[in-house]
Amino acid sequence: MVPLSWYLIFAAALFSIGLFGVLSRRNAIAILLGVELMLNSVNINLAAFWRYGNVMDMTGQVFAIIVFAVAAAEVAVGLALVISVYRRRNTVVADEIDMMKW
């Protein structure tokens, strides 16, 4: 039997990897890839807590599904924004997208 801690540490590691991607990649799309990793790591946690908690209580799975919906929404809008920015400014480099500066 795999202990709960393995799953949690696995999720934490995946989260940190995603975080690194979000913080360090120049390409906005790559940043969104990192965000996906982070969302997935959260989902692993939710599933793990569902399995190791009361199985009859579906809260963990329900939340995981809602995270799917959120992830889909996030990707859809995020990538649309990237494409839109690319069309106007011809760049997808996050550092160069700084129209919101003061």
Partner: protein, 117 residues
């Protein structure tokens, strides 16, 4: 759990067979590469530029609409499974859910985003 072992075995076997076939073909076939043979095939005409063509944003729109509906069905499958036992109220909940999404489709349609042109 045991079910998933077999699914995993299916994946493995499903991958082994094509890999085996391709590797076998690779071993059996001759290998005489030359630059013309390896060049990109465009009906015999010299290739101009590289393969990165600018794509229509339309592709993205279709994939986007698909993504949204895909996630929607994820919500609908558990609903569908329990539908028989839950009665009319659950049916109506699901119908509202679908109708809201169809409204999104209608919006996209009305905005002219579903046109290929």
């Amino acid at each position: 759990m045991s079910q998933w072992i077999y699914i995993g075995l299916f994946f493995i076997v499903g991958l082994i067979i094509p890999v085996g076939a391709i590797v076998m073909a690779w071993m059996l076939g001759p290998k005489k590469p030359n630059p013309i043979k390896l060049s990109t095939y465009e009906c015999g005409i010299e290739t101009v530029g590289d393969s990165w063509v600018q794509f229509k944003a339309q592709y993205y729109i279709f994939a986007l609409v698909f993504l949204i509906f895909d996630v929607e069905t994820v919500f609908l499958f558990p609903w569908a499974v329990k539908l028989g036992q839950l009665g009319l109220f659950a049916v109506i909940e699901g119908l509202i859910f679908i109708l809201i999404l169809v409204a999104g489709l209608v919006y996209t349609w009305r905005k002219g985003m579903l046109e290929w042109a």
